[in-house]
Symmetry: C2
């Protein structure tokens, strides 16, 4: 069932009523993000690394990272946690313990795997084109040395859940009857004026992919 967690590990325990398990909600949250946080374990120590990500169908992808070194000789993959979070606001409650943040997040658990050579190139082309349509064709394509230096890792979205908090304070009736104010400050990612590299030779036009870029990307 789409609205049930895929596993006990992804069933929300804390604030379980915020949990969403349908794939559309999950995909929208993943696709609206440009960076994720990937967790992996090395010598018993967890590491959490921010990195760019993208999704193709039922997989999330990201660039080479320390995990790629760990993966090199491991056909079975390594356990990772892939998390994407959007901060949407701060909620000020009447009761101190009810202050909260509004957010959307996705957490996916599983074994990450290195993307094989023949799929890697297509996956990276899709990444850039979903970020900014036309970007892949515009830029200088990687040479063989650059391709070799690049690892791509992916995780299948099997054990995955979303958590969405978009409401105001959940104060008790007694607190609501008080004369204390409550509300929220919405937060969102805003895009500034396009910056041109000062090293550009005069007369180089801004390409469409840059002029038309809007955050979040429609991918």
């Amino acid at each position: 069932m789409a609205d049930e967690p895929a596993s006990e590990r992804t069933r929300l325990r804390r604030y379980h009523w915020l949990g969403k398990y349908d794939r559309e909600t999950i995909n929208n949250i993943i696709d609206a993000g440009i960076i994720c946080h990937v967790g992996y374990v090395f010598n018993g120590q967890p590491y959490v690394t921010p990195t760019s990500h993208w999704r193709i169908d039922d997989y999330v992808y990201w660039h080479g990272s320390a995990a790629s070194r760990m993966l090199k000789n491991l056909e079975t993959g390594i356990p990772v946690c892939f998390t994407v979070t959007h901060l949407d606001g701060i909620v000020f409650a009447r009761a101190a313990m009810n202050h909260n943040v509004q957010f959307r997040s996705v957490m996916a658990l599983g074994n990450a795997e290195l993307v094989p050579e023949e799929m890697k190139r297509e996956a990276l082309a899709i990444f850039t084109d979903r970020l900014a349509p036309g970007l892949w064709d515009y830029a200088r394509k990687p040479n063989e040395q650059e391709w070799r230096a690049t690892k791509v890792i992916r995780l299948r979205l099997d054990e995955v859940s979303a958590k969405v908090n978009d409401v105001l304070a959940g104060d008790e009736e007694e607190d609501c009857a008080s004369d204390r104010w409550s509300g929220a400050v919405p937060l969102s990612i805003a895009q500034g004026q396009l910056i041109c590299d000062p090293k550009l030779a005069p007369g180089i036009a801004v390409p469409d992919f840059a002029k038309n870029f809007r955050y979040p990307p429609k991918r």
Copy 2:
């Protein structure tokens, strides 16, 4: 030395030239964030959870989470990774492999510990007041039951490093001589219009802490 990593585990390997180890840079990145990502390990599986955080001197603090259950009987603490990331922009390069993001991040490793009862209350008061000065005094204080339900966890900032990428594309001379455009889209968190809880009784004034709230908080 302030500009050397505290440990080999926090010495940057990938893009090591982006590494910063001075405490002022690290504190500024932590303090500008409202949410962090905490990684911990359970049954060999890493988990990465977004949560609100705050800093007091040489410690970062966050609310109770799954980690608090794991910590309950562990005086020695559990290994965690605390990561804060700010996405500052997207860099479009001339060469496809040089597209990048501008960001500031901090990663701290170590053993997290439960904050003892007597310090917990002060730590939470400091949290709310640094987020919005006056907030602690304004809201209804927690009752004993609410206090008991709340766990606060902290991590000492010993093994900690920052990573800052604020430059444009690092294209090779050959690519720079081409007629391809390169530049960046700045991204930042913007604050929307204050929302009042529709359940407010008429005549309740917006308090100063809400009127004056500005992201990022000055803490």
